[in-house]
Point group: C2
DNA sequence: GCAAAAGTGTTGGGAGTACACCCATGA
DNA sequence: TCATGGGTGTACTCCCAACACTTTTGC
């Protein structure tokens, strides 16, 4: 590092790509901006880093503030940082983006203090480059691509399911996020055969219709061997 | 985003994990600090983000300053950001880390203005948690893990080779980075059979001894299908 | 019984591994 | 001629996609 005196005044923010599967679609949480710039436009939830806060703590706090839910209901990981000099007309900002994956939430953004918060299908948001304020469309696109890629080699898809879920519900997550269809029989064999992916609860359910299906919890593995391919 | 007035004064830096393969080892570029804090200790190269500079531009500039080589000689990608409140005793800093992969350089850090710059084996640097100043040991560990993972499913190993290289030289990169040994015959078949990975130059060389080997350039694919497994 | 979804068996092809073998050079 | 590494052939195994088939529920 060189002389600190030459550093520019920079504001650091944390922005969130919060994804869920709702109504057979991958959806992202968006907030309507109440202030300039981009007043009235949709944006990703986020806010400024506080003086004594580490980056993951700031991301958790924002997540709580925007959704009213505790952060342990989510998978949260850092996506990347964005710092183009003109990305915010007010001042020089660098944002550290996080992605959060969640099960379908009972009521979107319950208990938030944001003026207007809404789930919107990712397909619609990514259809036009300026659907979101600032550079948030690019950040969302990166987040979605990260999520798609991680389904292949991590058990992350379970983060989109509730506490207990069936193999079919898990497969549905893959089909929606990847936009493909998968063979139910082979999918079943594959996920139940991968050690540490799923943990049986012993209970069954008929909520998907037909023969009762076993209920599972997420296992403890962090990586899938072998990976599930698209 | 909420009120900008509540934001803390934060300095943003860019730090680099510069990796190369030298002397049958994965090595990282380190700089001896000439100032407090951590004066005299080794650290990752890096510096403050300038007022009108985007993050990738800052990373490229630092790379040029520290190595004296143009940035197109490297593969450069963002690794992640680190912002623990106490990571720098002088002030609140958030650093955006990048990894740079390079071929073995003729003379380490030629033309740099850094007081003391040196390649050091990653195995030695990661042996003790405080081998590097600040949180740089953790950043280095993350960077090495990223590089190892990316060799599996991208053609990134070619970034460690020169402009033209043989299959054996490429295999050597894999063996050093992964710390494994690979079957030369099957490796040859695999990499030459993956479309877009390697592009033949038509020339041959005997620099590895034995029968002349074909020379290749890096191809255009960004992903390996199927992946090379460790 | 019938529809619907869960879950198992079987089979054929493709990819990975191990290793025998041949090729082309320098010394 | 021998050592050294480059490169091909081949057989065996294992995984996986495709799909027929059985099981267990609700209606």
């Amino acid at each position: 590092m060189t002389d600190p005196d030459e550093h520019a005044p920079v504001a650091v923010t944390v922005d969130l790509v919060v994804l869920t599967v709702r109504d057979d679609q991958l959806q992202a949480l968006t907030i309507r901006r109440g202030e300039e710039p981009h007043r009235g436009r949709w944006a990703l939830p986020g806010g400024f880093l506080r003086p004594d806060e580490d980056l993951p703590d700031a991301a958790e706090r924002e997540l709580r503030e925007e959704t009213g839910l505790s952060a342990d209901r989510f998978h949260l990981e850092q996506l990347g940082s964005y710092g183009a000099p003109d990305r915010d007309p007010r001042m020089r900002t660098v944002t550290v983006a996080y992605i959060a994956l969640a099960a379908d939430l009972p009521t979107p953004t319950a208990g938030t203090d944001a003026a207007d918060a809404r789930w919107q299908p990712v397909s619609r948001l990514l259809g036009t480059d300026d659907a979101l304020a600032f550079d948030h469309s690019a950040i969302l696109a990166d987040g979605v691509e990260r999520a798609r890629a991680k389904l292949e080699y991590t058990p992350l898809a379970t983060a989109f399911c509730g506490e207990e879920f069936t193999v079919t519900e898990l497969r549905h997550v893959y089909e929606v996020v990847w936009g493909t269809s998968l063979d139910p029989r082979n999918f079943h064999r594959k996920v139940t055969g991968t050690a540490g992916f799923l943990e049986p609860t012993g209970a069954t359910t008929t909520r998907d219709g037909g023969r009762p299906a076993q209920l599972f919890r997420a296992g403890t593995t962090r990586h899938l061997h072998p990976p599930l391919l698209r």
